[in-house]
Symmetry: C2
Subunit: 340 residues, 2 copies
DNA sequence: TTGAAAGCGCTAACAG
DNA sequence: CTGTTAGCGCTTTCAA
């Protein structure tokens, strides 16, 4: 035999569809059909193929399938950070809904860094995902262009982005700030301050908070800025700073529950009466907010629900259901507990 | 022209390598080289190609690359759950290390369910990842077989699995239980109990705990079992159960910090003195453990470090560095704080 | 240093 | 209902 068929590309060594076909005595296409559209194959044929699949332990190469077909059945998820973070809930919600539908999640973290976000998004788009979920707005215009050029369904979450790329599932961060401000005003607090990170969502919360205070004829004290992602330690530090300054502050709105709880614990340590001497409110309504002693006043946001709704939206968009870009506002709800 | 070249497969419409090649006036292979092994291409050629890439906004199709080449540059991560979980740290550590090396993370959650784990692993292996990280032992033998047959580097984490598939990065859960038991004994607690889930890691902690107690001549009280994943609520419920039973329990070891903190908060609510009336210890040393009032005695485990080490191991294995299967025990360290 | 062929493993028409 | 054919977009030899 002339070695005309020199193997150029490197075979994987794993069983291929053709191996299954040979064992089952059918053609390769039939195997493909059994795996993808079983109803289009006669029952006996189908069983023979399934049996062959089992015997040789065949695991379909989805990469080859994605290349040949149109769909990759991959959904990309881009979050700022996943550890100790409320975004983990959103990823969970997304993945819970999607796994059952045969999708796999590609996860990436930006660490609130525009450069990292850009290279991350490039890498993810290189996998040709069928859709992509992103927390908030892109950190840079470059990332935004990449995303728009990808021509796949995209859902931005956690904020009602003003100029969304495509779909949005979130809530108004400004409204969240507003309800807390109005609550503080109603409770009679007069020297109130915002504590949060420098990221867009935090800034939006602050803007809504400040605006509502001004509308009530009050002047918000200067905000305290902490690093993102927020930690218990940052919340504690912020509280210390406020206390050290010795101003008249009587209520603090923290951009996240984690920050608020960090501060609340420091108050416990110092024996500062909450809300007697200082009122504290957070955002997120994590489990811990309800369980704290005293339980924390907060704005309820379900990260899980955001993820689920985002998944539903993407599933619909992939299937071509629904018309244009959806814009789902989950709303905000103040949970009044004992710290205010 | 005879329509011999009917387009059977569906083109994506996105720019391809060939488009870049045409614009740059080189062949397709040269573009591939510029992107993968830039040093193998003359500088002027390289620049022309890069410029063309930029102009048409070319994003390489990594799926096609993975199929043609051997490596997918995908690492699969299988965790029980990601929300409110210490495993999120491990995923973060893994992803932090791997993203810089050009890898993308495929994330999947088993929800502590063997069936879900199996289909998840099948789906992931279908993507032909270059390596896979798994928390603990497979939930079923079927999954174990799938994994072993995949013939890719695999690292199991969070426990020193007895018969590992390949590499292991973790600690001895039994040792963790033991150090807590010894600490309880040394402190003079005599009526101690374990609280944890029904999962393997929790059971191992309990076994180590019970064994050390018996070695000290004590008889552990019956363990309290809670659902996995553990929540603050489960910790609280467990405490209530113990209290309702009205036994002589004077110290509780919770399988995770979350459970311990749930219980600790309930103690605060009920005005139960900790450790005066009841001692509490957890496992994980999460931020919150240190910040609690009083700060929680716990076993220090760095989920982040586990993820990082797992990533390093996989990177080495993919590159063919190191010899056989590694087995890294990160050890356990008791952090004595104020709850015991 | 560059290019031409020959696949990687699968799906999508198309025909029978 | 089943098989044949022609790619998906890229990476590899191998040769120049």
């Amino acid at each position: 035999m002339k070695p005309k068929t020199r193997t150029r590309a490197v075979p994987t060594g794993r069983p291929r569809m053709e191996d299954v076909a040979r064992l089952a005595g059918v053609s390769l296409v039939t195997v493909s059909r059994v795996l993808n559209t079983p109803d289009a194959v006669a029952a006996p044929t189908r069983q023979a193929v399934m049996e062959a699949v089992r015997r040789i332990g065949y695991v379909p190469n989805l990469t080859a399938g994605a290349l040949a077909g149109s769909r990759s059945r991959i959904i990309a998820a881009v979050v700022p950070t996943i550890a100790n973070s409320i975004f983990a809930d959103t990823v969970q919600g997304l993945s819970d809904r999607l796994e059952g539908e045969g999708y796999t999640i590609l996860l990436g973290q930006t660490g609130y860094d525009a450069g990292r976000e850009r290279s991350l998004v490039t890498a993810m788009l290189g996998r040709r995902p069928d859709a992509l979920m992103l927390v908030g707005a892109p950190l840079s215009a470059a990332t935004g262009r990449l995303l728009a050029a990808a021509k796949i369904p995209i859902v931005q979450t956690w904020e009602m982005v003003r100029r969304p790329i495509d779909h949005v599932v979130g809530f108004s961060n400004a409204a969240a700030g507003r309800v807390v401000a109005e609550h503080f005003v109603a409770r009679g607090y007069r020297h109130v301050r915002f504590v949060g990170g420098a990221d867009a969502r935090s800034k939006a919360r602050q803007a809504g908070f400040d605006a509502a205070l001004r509308a009530a004829g009050m002047t918000p004290l200067p905000a305290v800025t902490v690093p993102s992602p927020g930690t218990l330690g940052h919340g504690r530090d912020a509280l210390c700073r406020v206390l050290d300054e010795g101003g008249p502050t009587d209520a603090l709105f923290f951009s996240t529950d984690v920050l608020a709880i960090g501060a609340l614990l420091e108050c416990q340590r110092r024996g500062i009466a909450v809300p007697g001497r200082l009122a504290i409110a957070g955002l997120g309504d994590q489990d811990l907010a309800r369980e704290m002693v005293p339980p924390l006043t907060t704005v309820r946001i379900s990260g899980l629900e955001i993820g689920r709704r985002a998944a539903d939206l993407l599933l619909d968009a992939i299937a071509g259901r629904r018309g244009g870009a959806q814009r789902i506002d989950l709303g905000v709800q103040l949970i009044e507990r004992a710290t205010t």
